[in-house]
Symmetry: C2
DNA sequence: TAAAATAATTAGACAAGACTAATTTTATAA
DNA sequence: TTATAAAATTAGTCTTGTCTAATTATTTTA
């Protein structure tokens, strides 16, 4: 299909497009990938030539229909492999992201669909992200975060935005997982810290950054 | 761990060492990998510096203890993934080699062992090749080929040496798989073609090259 | 709106891993 | 044992994808 780098750029652009509705700039992509903006400019040129993205200084980077299709497939593979690693191989949810990052690039035509079937057509990956369907349809991801709640609101953790090990380990320590109930007790005006109650237990304070990475139902 | 190329060289060298007891030359490696001998010389230098191989013009290329360990792990992963693809995802045996060729490079510390456990610690892969154990021990591979038999001998197909799609599809056409019984009826002196009976059925003639790729019990 | 800061881009370099062409070694055969 | 063929090696090139440093655009902000 494409090179490893090309695939990673497509996926990054897709993720950025999903997360915020904002303009996707070379700098934003560079940050997401941990690359230098100069390198990103090169790759933007390459992917534009291949008609996978369109770049307009005003609008920023956008995926073309083909680019979107390819990006969705990569994300589909990533999330299916995550389910496999957790459910079949017994990994913990803070260990699977990086491995899936490698597995997602295996490019056999029928592999994703076979894996999907083998896993029983899961709807969500272990982090609560929706798994794109074989036909390319992507179930709407959750979009409300803990920081969007009003004081007193109660919610269920539906997904996590950050899937990195440090964040997931922190969640584990707080005994928060997909499905955990959380009540927002208070917002601290000074730094937007959140005072919450996890599963009805005594209150805990978490940062704004933390809250933005918890998607709720 | 290592780069994709380095891993492929290690694996190739290991396979060559297993197959024939002969000297492993740059040219032989080049042929195995479909590369130019000049490129191989470069990589021999690199792997020698990394102490993964030793190269002596007289003895040819040899794996060092570390190189052997690494190569065996790659082969282990390859063969485990082949079992997974066939048994769990329902691929046919002529489709799995190339996919496993990609999967074998996924480098998580516990992945191979978890996969091994998940698959029930298989002894052989779908082509009859022995799967190296977690401790690095490699069961002795089959070494007698169809061409080694004497006229009249009967045997059981234990493994195939070539695992490429064209060869396996040919086998499928002849209705030969692991476990199939074959009797050698005649050797044609002119070109060493073999006249055989498959599962007791009417005779078929196959080439010497074919016979060399069938390992028997 | 002019100055300062930030972002985007260009130019040039580099490492990995491949190649071709030319050369040197080694092996084979007359 | 010399001539020929084959193998190994060197030198130099290319592509991919990265980088740094310098330059040009574009935003902010005073």
């Amino acid at each position: 299909m494409y090179t490893l780098s090309e695939e990673n750029y497509l996926k990054s652009i897709y993720r950025l497009a999903q997360q915020n509705g904002f303009k996707i700039t070379p700098t934003a992509i560079a940050e997401a990938l941990g690359n230098n903006p100069a390198s990103v400019v090169d790759m933007i040129r390459k992917l534009t030539e291949k008609q996978l993205i369109a770049y307009d200084k005003k609008k920023g980077v956008e995926l073309t229909p083909q680019g979107l299709k390819d990006a969705v497939l990569i994300v589909r593979r990533h999330r299916l492999w995550e389910v496999f690693l957790l459910e079949k191989l017994g990994y913990h949810w803070d260990e699977i992201h990086d491995i899936a990052e490698e597995l997602e690039h295996i490019s056999d035509a029928t592999l994703a669909d076979r894996l999907d079937k083998f896993l029983g057509f899961p709807e969500y990956d272990p982090h609560g992200d929706p798994i794109p369907k074989a036909n390319g349809k992507v179930p709407k991801p959750y979009s409300v975060t803990l920081t969007d709640l009003k004081t007193g609101d109660t919610c269920r953790v539906a997904a996590v935005r950050d899937t990195s090990s440090p964040f997931l380990q922190y969640l584990q320590r707080l005994d928060i997982g997909i499905g955990t109930n959380i009540q927002l007790l208070e917002k601290i005006p000074f730094d937007n810290s959140l005072v919450i109650s996890i599963s009805g237990r005594e209150s805990t304070t978490v940062s704004q950054k933390f809250g933005e990475n918890i998607l709720v139902d």
